[in-house]
């Protein structure tokens, strides 16, 4: 156990670590509730990347010179940090990508080329972000395969019985989100994976909204593939992770090709390098990977359990306050739910609401949240979404409620 585990969750210290939280917006103290879109960065991350550029920058792997070696080591050590973070078995199962979307596209292409043919089926859920729908649709179109969708109920929970019915000997892959970005449902991914495995079907989990809110253990989940983004977990933009079990990564063909990931190149034939290089074509975003490792260090030092507890308290508090607001309707009432409240105000367009809330210096997101099918399911065109992070406070929730009051006053 970490030594900090015994300390209180020091919210003031944590807020002090994030420079941007101390600015003003529209002459009001800034309140940021758009964390599901992207999170802010602690000083550790900002300064770590700054240091790369000022002191050690060099391209990695093939250089014999000193700084190339230093940067290679830091990049590979970032890989080891990620491995430890999600408890993967091997470093070479960690592939750096530019983000979740890139990771899912990698999977859809490489896994698809190897395993998916005509009339085969891919299963996704009704709770997916577009990033975990469209690449599979494109694959199905290319291969004439079928996309099947696990339905959800009115609470925003997936129907596991339906899911069981859906699996058959044409099912090649199940791709589900760990946490739904639109309404916060935490899916029972371990159960979902277990059921798929009974049929020998591999599972990809979209962890974009999960890794920043609690510990994830890919071996415990027995996930075959797991993807996430750096920028949503307090790390930099332009970096993400694709985890794949070794046997899958060995089996599937590379996705992007180019320098570094090849072994031998002639115009007649090219052979590919070993894992993880096989999947990392071109110069990787090594600065981003090093920054991501700094973010992970920060999360681990703070303690993911403590973060989860703090965020749960915030969510409960916000739910309680929202329940008292007339005409406010929350979408998503799953028993397991994380950090996101998606709501509408009766007869008020989310866009109108968002524009007024913004004037209070408060950032929320409005619209479909790249999850149009979820909106369709609820028969709405969009919501106002407040998504919380480790640095948010109850006072900020109060300020949001105040702004909502004003919205109602203006448009009610």
């Amino acid at each position: 156990m970490l030594k900090t585990d015994k300390l209180e969750y020091n919210i003031e210290k944590i807020r002090g670590d994030f420079p941007i939280l101390h600015r003003q917006v529209h002459n009001k103290p800034f309140v940021y509730f758009d964390n599901a879109a992207t999170t802010h960065k602690p000083l550790e991350v900002i300064e770590r990347m700054d240091r790369v550029y000022r002191e050690t920058n060099s391209n990695i792997h093939r250089g014999v010179h000193y700084l190339s070696d230093v940067t290679t080591r830091e990049f590979e050590s970032a890989r080891e940090t990620v491995r430890g973070f999600i408890n993967a078995r091997n470093d070479h199962e960690i592939i750096f990508t530019s983000g979740t979307t890139a990771g899912i596209n990698l999977a859809a292409f490489s896994f698809g080329e190897r395993y998916v043919g005509e009339n085969d089926e891919i299963v996704v859920s009704a709770l997916e972000h577009h990033a975990n729908i469209v690449p599979w649709q494109m694959l199905c179109e290319r291969k004439r395969a079928k996309l099947r969708v696990i339905p959800m109920d009115d609470h925003g929970e997936l129907d596991i019985e339906e899911y069981k019915e859906m699996l058959n000997d044409r099912t090649r892959l199940v791709a589900v989100t760990h946490v739904a970005n639109s309404i916060g449902t935490v899916n029972p991914v371990k159960k979902i994976t277990g059921i798929a495995h009974e049929h020998g079907i591999p599972v990809l989990i979209d962890g974009a909204q999960a890794v920043q809110h609690g510990s994830v253990d890919v071996q415990d989940l027995d996930a075959d593939m797991y993807v996430f983004s750096g920028h949503k977990m307090y790390g930099p933009t332009g970096i993400g992770v694709f985890y794949g079990k070794e046997n899958i990564l060995e089996e599937i063909p590379p996705y992007q090709t180019g320098g570094e990931m090849v072994d031998q190149v002639t115009f007649e034939k090219t052979t590919f390098n070993q894992l993880p290089l096989k999947f990392e074509a071109g110069t990787p975003n090594y600065t981003g990977a090093i920054g991501l490792a700094a973010a992970i260090d920060y999360l681990v030092e703070t303690g993911l359990d403590k973060i989860a507890a703090h965020e749960k308290d915030l969510l409960d508090y916000a739910a309680g306050r929202f329940a008292q607001i007339d005409g406010l309707k929350v979408f998503g009432a799953a028993r397991e739910k994380i950090s996101v409240i998606s709501f509408v105000l009766e007869d008020i367009h989310p866009y109108d609401a968002g524009m007024v809330i913004d004037k209070f210096g408060i950032a929320v997101r409005t619209g479909t949240h790249c999850a149009q099918p979820v909106m369709d399911r609820f028969g709405i065109r969009g919501t106002i979404r407040a998504s919380m992070a480790m640095y948010n406070t109850r006072e900020e929730v109060d300020r949001l409620c105040e702004a909502i009051g004003k919205v109602k006053e203006m448009f009610g």
Binding site: H26, I348, H349, D352, K359, R381, K406, F411
Partner: protein, 149 residues
Amino acid sequence: MDMEKVQEEIVEEFGLFDDWMDKYNHLIELSRSLPVIDEKYKKPEFLIEGCQSRVWLNAAMEDGRVVYTADSDAVITKGIIALLIRVLSGRTPDEILENDLWFIDRIGLKENLSPTRSNGLISMIKQMKLYALAYKAKNQKTGRNGESG
């Protein structure tokens, strides 16, 4: 009143308000004055892309002048279109195509009113000008204003 005058009037109107809440309230007020599009035109063909809220826009030619009707599901957006229509509706195609909508910057519509989706605003103006262009071309074809294509 010519387009310049109307724009000056709007700038003056907005100048009365110190803070943004008042400006928004004024837009909400204005939204009620929007000449509403006929229900039968509330179809995808009349929807403007690039807006966070849905905006439908139609135009008709009356006595050589373009008359716009519109609607939106968001109130503030409606207020904005009402402003655009106040300036552009009932003008000749040439007036609409040649005049600059400088009032937008002066009342801070672009920067302050629709923070991200000034895209939406640009799309609306573009669509209004496209209608004017279409009617102008039609007029020219039928030889009504003497110029040749």
